[in-house]
């Protein structure tokens, strides 16, 4: 009989992942009540690779990302992070895996009672207790400088723009120097210039930190700019996966419609 620990370290087969993949999800199913959101999604992301998950609103893109970081439980299927199955881990065990991951929420989800600097310092205060306060402050300044917000340390989240909030969220996601970065609609609700700045920022950070990234978006331009590979989701299923050129050559009607209207 498999124990939880045995299941926790279970490796996937070649299709779902081989232990070298940064993220490997296999045959994911998820329903909310009678609504089936994911119907057998299988995807892998290699180390240093960026995958953009595209699709119309309500096709389960954000749910997929929340399942990968363990904020939602799957009905069936498996999620492996660097070869480790996470579906059966307790909250504290999952914490160990989450330290390797950074997550940018669609709404940025900054702690509204903390300043910008305190928001970025939050993961450090909890997981880098060996760092002195001044070392933590230096790290926060470095991270905020990386996202171009070095002059806004003491501002409250409510006092900065949506684009700046996303940057702070990004700095917070990078605080623990993660191996995997998950971005949920990084450019949603931003003007074209701010979107372009966020795209450039993500590209710069990927080049500097060599992380595996999954970007959930319905912004084709952003996906094309940031990602090495794209996966198009429709009605909870992956319709096509490949480079932008491969998507362009596809004769699947939904893919053609999506590209035409984006």
């Amino acid at each position: 009989m498999n124990t939880t620990n045995e299941l926790s370290v279970r490796r996937l087969d070649a299709k779902g992942g081989d232990g070298k993949s940064a993220v490997a999800v296999k045959d994911l199913h998820k329903s909310f009540g009678s609504q089936k959101v994911l119907k057998g999604v299988t995807l892998t992301v290699g180390s240093g690779e960026t995958l953009a998950v595209l699709g119309r609103s309500g096709t389960g893109k954000s749910v997929l990302l929340r399942i990968i970081i363990g904020l939602e439980k799957t009905d069936s299927g498996s999620v492996c992070i660097q070869g480790q199955e996470i579906s059966f881990l307790s909250l504290d065990e999952l914490g160990g895996v989450r330290k390797k991951m950074g997550f940018l929420f669609q709404s940025a989800a900054l702690y509204d009672s903390l300043t910008v600097a305190e928001n970025v310092a939050f993961p450090l205060q909890h997981h880098r207790r060996e760092m002195s306060k001044s070392e933590q402050q230096d790290r926060v300044r470095t991270l905020l400088a990386e996202v171009g917000l070095e002059g806004h340390l003491e501002k409250m989240p409510a006092d900065i723009s949506g684009g700046m909030q996303k940057r702070v969220g990004l700095a917070r996601a990078l605080a623990l120097d993660p191996d995997i970065l998950l971005l949920d609609e990084p450019t949603a609700g931003l003007d074209p210039i701010s979107s372009s700045e966020i795209n450039d920022l993500v590209l710069k950070l990927q080049a500097e930190h060599h992380m595996a990234s999954i970007v959930v978006t319905h912004d084709l331009h952003s996906a094309k700019t940031i990602a090495d590979r794209l996966a198009l989701l429709d009605k909870g299923e992956v319709v096509i996966e490949g480079s932008f050129e491969e998507l362009e050559k596809s004769d699947i009607e939904f893919v053609r419609d999506f590209l035409k209207n984006s």
């Binding site: 909250l91 504290d92 989450r98 330290k99 929420f105 909890h126």
Partner: protein, 260 residues
Amino acid sequence: MSSTASSTDGLMSGFLAWFGELGLFFWNVSKAAVTPPFEFRELFRQLDEIGSKSLPLVALAGAATGVVLSLEARYSLTRFGAKSLLPAAIVFSVIHETGPIITGLVVSGRVGAGIGAELASMKVTEQIDAIEASAVNPYRLLAATRILACILMLPLLTLASDLCGVLMGWVAQASVESLSFHQFINSGFKGADFNDFLPPTFKTTVFGLIIGLIACFQGMRTQGGAAGVGRAATSSVVLSSLFVILADVVLVKFILIFFP
């Protein structure tokens, strides 16, 4: 007829589901509370938030209760020719019942609503998810610290309420007849022992557990935006007040049996 039966079934299953989820929540919080890393900084912040900041309100409520008790008891006891028992009636009423229950209800209103609304707001704006995504256990950081602070602070706040109640009881009595504080205390505490004082004070730890647990539970399970936050704040106060009163009934009986 059948619709009445099915709505009763629905109510019953909702009631049982709520208790089941509350039990699971309590288990998760208990596990998180006894395993490291311990969130001492947040605990101290909550001790201040729940304890120090509730003190003026609790003291005022205790003082008002002392005055009312003194006025009412004076009238009743004079009618029955037992005016000399007035200090004892005030002291025993305050320490045995009014101090603890008034403190429980005041804290339930102030702290229950505060915790419920704060956590609900964090929940609907994904801040609790962000805490979890940062590999921090929200049961440990948010719930365990607040519940523990409620448990630790309720007896201390009760002492403050008792003190203000007795003091203002004396002031109310001294304003209508000459009676020194020394005489009032001597007469009031005559025949009293620790069994009169400790069990009623420490029963408020149970009130603290109820207030903290229900407010955190209602806050962290909130759904549905601003309306959900409002519902969480209201239900935190209503349910915690209700359960404090119900717990008081059980605890009074328990204290009378085991500390006669």
